[in-house]
């Protein structure tokens, strides 16, 4: 069913990168937890298919923006944990600037209050 406030597929895909980097900036995490966090923060408006996240994570890892290690879950399962790398921190700053630029441009056009830039 079409829901006006739901982000389009393209927007979801484009925002996945800054979202993942921002969540990992808060500390180490793993796939399932990252998805739960996105769902909770967006109030369900950003609908991620679960499988979409892993290619994003693997790409960020190849680019050296995040690092991974294999650990164990609380129930003893093998689990892959990700952390933000130093380069990832820089990339996140660049992403922030870009997204706020877009946001502020639109905010001016729509006459809503812009966000502070960084």
């Amino acid at each position: 069913m079409y829901k006006a406030s739901m982000a389009t597929k393209e927007l979801v895909a484009a925002s996945s990168r800054p979202l993942v980097l921002s969540i990992l900036e808060r500390g180490e995490s793993y796939g399932y937890a990252i998805i739960q966090e996105v769902k909770a923060l967006s109030g369900g408006e950003l609908e991620w298919t679960d499988g979409m996240l892993y290619p994003v994570l693997h790409r960020l890892e190849r680019e050296g923006l995040i690092q991974s290690r294999w650990g164990k879950s609380d129930t003893g399962r093998k689990r892959k944990y990700y952390t933000l790398s130093r380069d990832g921190g820089h990339a996140l700053q660049a992403e922030k600037a870009q997204w706020l630029n877009v946001h502020n441009t639109l905010a001016q056009l729509w006459g809503v209050k812009p966000c502070p830039t960084i």
Partner: protein, 233 residues
């Protein structure tokens, strides 16, 4: 964890492992995700299989996962192209040549024992069937997860690679098993290889069978893998 739950998860994982774009540790990661989803699904009123089915739906369909992983890895597209080129080359050039070598001692033998040609042809067809049956058996074992964590599993699970490997092995084995005793026997009987006059007939027969059988066998393999019973709806 109950056994049937493990088995259902295993089936899901095996179906996923069939997909070329998802391999090795990515499978472990997705399985962890599936099991994390599973924990959120209440056990009351649902069978274990139904719970896995629900969790698998949340993770995404196999096609969806395959596409997403494939798109995220551009080198896969090239690997796939190159592999198909190699397969084409093998199917049309190398294998007919290799099999012709195999067919010769058998054919010479057939001429020498004066067996009807139809018998020889059926024998050769049976040989093809044996090669492919061995290959299916091998892949089937692999798909049932007998060696899911072996280092080579990601590599060997790609059918093109498995097929080429198996055929090379098969050609070598048949060559050793057939050509050596045949050659020895012929040498004992003093037969000259050039006596064999219908070589061109055999040549075209071999070319035809190999170029036809290799792709059709490959198609069958792909079909078998993708129709594996799975919890994915």
């Amino acid at each position: 964890m109950p056994d049937d739950l493990n088995l259902t998860i295993r089936r899901w994982r095996d179906a996923l492992a069939c997909r070329e774009s998802i391999k090795g540790e990515q499978l472990d990661e997705l399985q962890d995700h599936l099991e994390a989803e599973l924990q959120q699904i209440p056990a009351q009123g649902l069978s274990e299989e139904e719970r896995v089915l629900l969790a698998a739906r949340r993770v995404g369909s196999l096609d969806q996962l395959d596409t997403q992983f494939f798109d995220a890895n551009p080198s896969l597209a090239w690997r796939r192209r190159v592999l198909w080129m190699v397969i084409g080359y093998f199917a049309l050039v190398v294998l007919p040549g290799g099999l012709l070598k195999l067919a010769m001692p058998a054919a010479i033998f057939a001429v020498n024992i004066a067996a009807p040609k139809v018998l020889v042809v059926s024998g050769l067809i049976a040989m093809h069937v044996a090669v492919w049956a061995g290959l299916f058996f091998f892949l089937n074992k692999r798909m049932k997860g007998l060696a899911p964590n072996a280092k080579v599993s990601g590599w060997i699970k790609s059918y093109p690679v498995a097929m080429i490997t198996m055929l090379i092995v098969a050609v070598l084995v048949f060559e050793l098993a057939l050509a050596i005793p045949m050659g020895y026997m012929l040498a004992l009987r003093g037969t000259n290889i050039s006596d064999f006059g219908t070589i061109t007939l055999w040549n075209s027969f071999m070319n035809f069978t190999w170029s036809f059988l290799a792709p059709s066998g490959l198609g069958f393999l792909a079909w078998r893998c993708y129709r594996q019973p799975t919890v994915h709806s």
